[in-house]
Amino acid sequence: MKLIRRLLAIPLLVWIVATLAFFLMRAAPGGPFDRERAPASREVEAALQARYHLDESLGRQYLRFLAGLVQGDLGPSFKYRHHTVNDILAQALPVSLTLGWLAFGTALGIGIPTGFIGAVHRGRWPDWAGSFLVLAGVCIPTFVLAPLLVLIFSLRLGWFPVALWGSIPQVLLPTFALGLYFAARVSRLLREGLSETLRAPFILTARAKGLGEFELLLRHALRPSLLPVVSYCGPMLADLLTGSFVIERVFQIPGTGAFFVNSFFSRDYPLMVGLVIVYSALLLLLNLATDFAYRWLDPRTRHA
């Protein structure tokens, strides 16, 4: 029941966000067709405004937008004039989603083992080595890390292509660059979580019962320790899936990140609003998924 209620709230919230985006965009000075060169004549300008319905009242434009939205049509892009917003999303979103998923896997694939090892060997050298990596991962921003990786692995060593998207080697560097920060966060969360669990009375009981160390760690200690990681997964995934402006720019990846930033500067109202809708829906869905994963992992939250 709760799931259905919350699912139903999503369209409502998305609608509110989309409405805000719609009106805020239009409040910004300058319009989509303001250029350095003046239009050839007033008629040319008027024809352009009429084609995109910018000559209508704001209310009518909003109703037109809602009518399109209901049918799943986000309208034409004002800047990329041979493409509709749906076209652009259909091309760019899978790229960002692929990159995001892979980076998510990288974050967990690196973060969980290092956090696990750090907690088990707390205070010894594997912990220190892991902590160092984590600190580096959290501190170095992507706009430094990505060019650094390109410099070392592409330009110096020649192992990977410097940019573009389309083959496996081209995917590895951006995935790593995007995932490392999140890997560091995951690692830290797990290390703290697991360290705390290992001090809990039920671990002592399990040990006293003669449970093997391996089974103890994986079966009893890990599951409750993953809770903070899981609650972080929702926002992390949303962050990753919606594309990264920096990574996409550095590696010239045709994802949504660049559109999100540029559509505002070029006053491409439909593209901007379309992206806001997709992002907010994604964010709300992932938050919901996180909550339910949490309930599944931790029986206490089910009865709260």
Partner: protein, 559 residues
């Protein structure tokens, strides 16, 4: 057009991603260590699932930003124009060496003695990429489409030189059929001009005069350029277009000059990071960086020394606009005084540092063989005298004002600081800097909502008129509020003059008046372009003032 290929192929990559997510979830469960190995496995699997590499192209160019439109009549950007020219041709086309107009779809033409009627002979072997012949009715229809205000072409103003072009564009003449162009036969075409227009053949090479396919346009509307089997009149056809990644072009087998089209498959990459573009070039993934904006200016000092970086003069000017409708800038003495204290050498030598030419004139040196007159050169004494005459002795009582500029690059701000210091030190007046976001900047410029504003203009064709007609009283690009009847008359008289030398003299007189009498603008320097090209690797690229490098002439040199 072919559907999207690697990793953009949504179902394949989503399939991989789904598989991956299932395994990721499994990893979060119990069998952690085993599952981590599975993650790595899934990681690779997901990639293989989505990947089918593209067959390589014969030539890879980096064209700068993602094109907004490649409809030759609608496009305005330079990056867009290069692709527009590759797909659609007009009666003339750009010469790869000089950038001047040479015969395109027309093989020859004659001009009437009064200089107002051209008769063009179309090539009999001119054909669409579908194999169908291109005839004079195609030309007539294309031009009528471009000039029709409903098409909303920003460059429709280039048709104002053709009879009735302006009236149709302004809506005073409702019938585009009245445009001064008609078919005399399947391969003969007559064009009537308002005035003798010495640069008309140059204009014809620009994209807004390109020939476009009528049936496709009528069938597909706005989406025509992405329609399957798009008929093209130029040297290339469009194979596919991946937004923000690349456009792939394939040689048009029916192009009249197909044997001279050097590369069969050309990839035109799009991206907006100059550093990434440079890396692509340095590692050989890109053969030639064609767009001068893709030059990382921070690395200018180092890159300029490289043998594969070439500098060329470029048909563009950097200048300051005065809002002549605001006090005290409505007084030409004030405008001249301000223009007289700017040290251009310091700006190009210490700020821009790309080898720009300081210029007190708006038309760059060498434009169409014209010699621009000198404008206001640095002279602080005269400046102070003029300011005193205008009632601001030593800068006293001069209101505080703003210098507006677009703030995407630091360059404009640095130039602003330089000018600010000159005004303060030489004239004792205070100027504030006002950085603006691009659209706000454009909006303020067209609404005359500024005091002083950074500006620039890139010429459309190789003739001084492309700069000088900006400042006509009726010019939509004037944007200074300056109106001068004498200037208007000089420009009109010049453009009605057929002979080159007398015409240039009249234009020079007009320019001198613009710079030294009215002074609604103060030019600072002429632009330069840089392109990255290893001449051992790529042939067929020549620096020219117009920065036109037709794709059909470029080829990779086999190693």
């Amino acid at each position: 057009m072919r559907p999207l290929a690697p990793l953009q192929n949504a179902p394949a990559s989503m399939h991989g991603a789904f598989l991956f997510s299932v395994l990721t979830c499994a990893a979060v469960g119990r069998r952690l260590l085993q599952s981590i190995q599975l993650i790595q496995f899934a990681f690779l699997l997901a990639l293989f699932a989505g990947c089918r590499p593209l067959p390589p192209a014969d030539l890879v160019l980096h064209n700068g930003r993602e094109p907004e439109t490649i409809d030759p009549h609608l496009l305005t950007g330079q990056a867009d124009g290069r692709i527009g020219s590759a797909l659609f041709e007009g009666l003339t086309r750009y010469d790869p060496v000089s950038g001047n107009a040479i015969a395109g779809l027309a093989q020859g033409w004659t001009l009437s003695p009064d200089g107002r009627t051209y008769t063009f002979q179309l090539r009999t072997n001119a054909a669409w990429s579908t194999g169908k012949a291109i005839t004079s009715t195609d030309v007539v229809w294309s031009w009528q489409r471009a000039v029709n205000p409903l098409t909303a072409a920003d460059y429709a103003s280039q048709y104002f030189y053709v009879e009735n072009g302006e009236a149709i564009c302004n809506g005073t003449e409702r019938d585009p059929g009245k445009l001064g162009v008609r078919a005399l036969g399947p391969h003969t075409l007559e064009v009537r001009l308002v005035n003798p227009t010495p640069f008309f053949l140059e204009l014809l090479a620009s994209r807004v005069f390109a020939i476009v396919p009528r049936e496709t346009l009528e069938k597909y509307g706005d989406q025509w350029i992405r329609s399957p089997g798009l008929p093209c009149s130029g040297p290339y056809t469009l194979e596919f277009w991946r937004v923000n990644d690349r456009i792939r072009l394939r040689r048009n087998p029916h192009y009249w000059d197909a044997t001279n089209v050097q590369s069969a498959v050309v990839d035109v990459l799009a991206g907006d990071s100059a550093h990434t573009t440079l890396n692509l070039y340095l590692t050989g993934a890109v053969d030639f960086i064609i767009d001068k904006d893709m030059f990382p200016t921070e690395l200018a000092e180092a890159l300029r020394e490289r043998p594969d970086f070439h500098r060329y003069d470029y048909l563009g000017s950097y200048f300051i606009r005065f809002n002549t409708t605001r006090k005290p800038f409505d007084d030409p003495r004030v405008r001249r005084a301000l223009g007289l204290v700017i040290n251009r050498q310091r700006i190009v030598g210490r700020i821009t540092r790309m080898g720009e030419r300081p210029a007190s004139h708006i038309v760059p040196d060498g434009t169409g063989g014209y010699h621009p007159p000198a404008g206001l050169e640095e002279d602080a004494t005269t400046a102070r005298r003029l300011l005193a005459e205008a009632g601001f002795e030593g800068g006293k009582g001069f209101p505080s004002f703003e210098y507006s500029f677009n703030a995407e690059t630091k360059l404009h701000e640095h130039i602003g600081v330089e000018i600010q210091a000159a005004f303060r030190e030489q004239l004792g007046i205070r100027m504030e800097l006002r950085p603006l976001e691009w659209k706000t900047y454009l909006n303020n410029m067209s609404k005359l909502d500024y005091d002083l504003m950074r500006s620039s203009w890139i010429g459309d064709y190789n003739d001084p008129n492309t700069f000088l007609d900006l400042f006509l009283s009726t010019g939509g690009n004037n944007r200074t509020g300056w109106r001068d009847e004498v200037y208007d008359q000089l420009i009109q008289a010049a453009n009605a003059t057929l002979e080159r030398q007398p015409r240039f003299e009249l234009l020079a007189k007009a320019e001198a008046r613009l710079l030294n009498v009215g002074a609604p603008i103060v030019p600072l320097f002429s632009y330069v372009g840089f392109y990255a090209l290893d001449t051992n690797r790529v042939a067929g690229v020549h620096g020219n003032l117009l920065d036109e490098h037709p794709f059909w002439a470029i080829r990779r040199i086999p190693r």
